[in-house]
């Protein structure tokens, strides 16, 4: 009961905030929440599951495109479109993860790099179905029970997606499965010796987090009411990885800090470096790995210990 109230409180707080923000800041705010959602999922895959993947953002794209295509090209009802979109993410994730996790090493990283690259090609070449290089636009969220959700009210939907993702990940993290993931990350041989099916654990983590990214993508589809190929390129796949590393991999709070920081940084950096903030990110990441492998959350812990 107390726990439910706490979740509800956080929801009201996060969803209430955009009503105080203007249109522009509401837009920045909800995009930030989507990045936080993505970073949380990716942190579970990379920080807790120990797998490097470059397709997290591609699955975000699969979710975004699939819901638009199912709704407006195939004219399916919203719930069915959501289910089919998730199913598509799961199928693609399984197809990539099952072969790539059979061997020790970075095969999944390379396979997902190839997948992410191919996804953009498919979007560009997809003709009328994907809208080609121009993408799809001029659609709007179907009315739900006769209500048209827009503006700050739609931000509440995104807050719901974020909290749902966090809830699922926290539950998993604190379960047998979360500990199995950490064991597989730290020492696969020992994990196998304890009776954990290493390959299956990896496949499940990858598929689950990819599906969560897909759901976040579905929420994204109605933020700008347009989806187009350039957004889903490799740059953003690297950005998610960087958010988690800079924030502190393996920690949910770290993922949140990293996502917020790296999302907001370009707004402050652009007067100084123009569009070249990615270079700054690269340097930040290299610095973090060399000097502070625990990321910003590690620094926070250190300060807490020092001053308590």
């Amino acid at each position: 009961m107390k726990n439910t109230l706490r979740w509800l409180g956080v929801f009201v707080l996060l969803a209430g905030l955009p009503f105080l923000l203007g249109n522009y800041y509401n837009d920045v705010y909800r995009k930030m929440l989507l990045w936080v959602t993505l970073a949380l999922g990716y942190n579970f895959l990379f920080g807790i599951g120990g797998q490097v993947s470059f397709s997290h953002f591609a699955f975000y794209g699969v979710g975004a495109y699939s819901i638009v295509i199912f709704l407006f090209q195939f004219h399916l009802p919203l719930p069915l479109a959501i289910v089919l979109g998730v199913a598509l993410c799961v199928l693609v994730a399984l197809a990539v993860a099952i072969p790539s996790t059979r061997l020790e090493g970075f095969y999944l990283a390379l396979a997902t790099l190839a997948l992410a690259q191919l996804f953009v090609v498919v979007l560009n070449e997809g003709g009328a179905v994907t809208g080609g290089t121009g993408g799809l636009a001029n659609y709007r969220l179907p009315d739900i029970f006769g209500v048209h959700i827009t503006g700050p009210w739609y931000t509440a939907v995104i807050v719901f997606v974020l909290l749902m993702t966090l809830f699922i990940l926290l539950k998993l993290d604190r379960s047998w499965f979360g500990r199995a993931c950490r064991a597989v990350r730290d020492n696969p041989e020992a994990a196998a010796a304890m009776g954990i099916n290493v390959a299956r654990t990896k496949v499940i983590v990858f598929t689950l987090t990819s599906a969560l990214a897909g759901v976040a993508g579905m929420a994204y589809a109605f933020v700008d009411n347009t989806v187009n190929p350039p957004i889903f390129g490799l740059e953003n796949a690297f950005l998610i990885l960087f958010m988690v590393i800079v924030g502190g991999s393996g920690r949910h709070a770290g993922a949140v800090i990293g996502a917020v920081l790296l999302f907001l940084l370009p707004f402050f950096l652009s007067p100084l470096v123009g569009h070249h903030h990615v270079l700054v990110f690269g340097l930040l990441v290299l610095g973090a790995i060399l000097v502070a492998p625990k990321g910003l959350i590690g620094a926070v812990d250190f300060m807490k210990k020092k001053f308590s």
Partner: protein, 290 residues
Amino acid sequence: MQDFLELAVSATASGCIYGLIALAYLLMIRPTGIINFAVGEWAMVSAFGGYVFLTKYEFPYPLGMAVVIAFMLLVGWVTERVAVRPLVEKGAPLLAPVLALLGVLVITREIISVSFPPDPLPVPFPFGFGRLEFGLVAGSYQSFFIIAVTVLVFVGAWFFFEKTLWGRSFEAVSLNRKAAALMGINLSRVTSLSFAGGAAMAGLGGLLVAPNVSAHYQMGVPLAIQGFTALVIGGVGRVEGALLGGLLLAFAEQFTTRYAPIASGYTQGVPLLLLMLFLLVRPTGLLRSK
């Protein structure tokens, strides 16, 4: 038939490029276990080096090529010093240098995109643009040049690994790091050399492919994917495997483009399909290590 043979020559040339990139991966992966995703970016840097020295300053080709390759050796050496060695010495898990190299990848790419105009930049052909015919087999000068250089490099690499003391010490390190160190092999020197050599191989690939595709800051990632796929097809255990895998991949790609009724962009899916297929059916690659 003629069409087929012409295609075969150009596929062989592309396969050689993939083979060189695969060899770059292999040089670093065997002694260290580190997979360096930045090899594609290294090929890209070298292509831009070709633009600077051969197009802009008009160095004679052999000299320009030597300067670019020397520069790549330096790039590899510095990268190892900055992004790999501190982590290995700290005893960080293998993932740490791999991630650090991803940082290097992004930094490299951004530095190039900041320093050069965004359009593809031309890099000259060493022998100009022309056609060479041996009976039915015909292709561009560049195709034959690529094939010749790659054959030389692979013969050299094979000789290095099989016949020289240095090459054997690479083998020893890849088999068992601790034992190799106890036998008096200088691990850090082997690591330095493997990164310098890897950068040079990737750079050679980039310089050779540059006249055909022009230097562009986004050319790295596809090469990194194709090179790795070639490595998986051929098998990490043997040097020849890199070339064999590269050739197989290039033939699969070019024949799909030519004969399959799909948009040419989709051929970028061929490496992914082959990668999945080989990981499922023959994860050790075609050639087993001895």
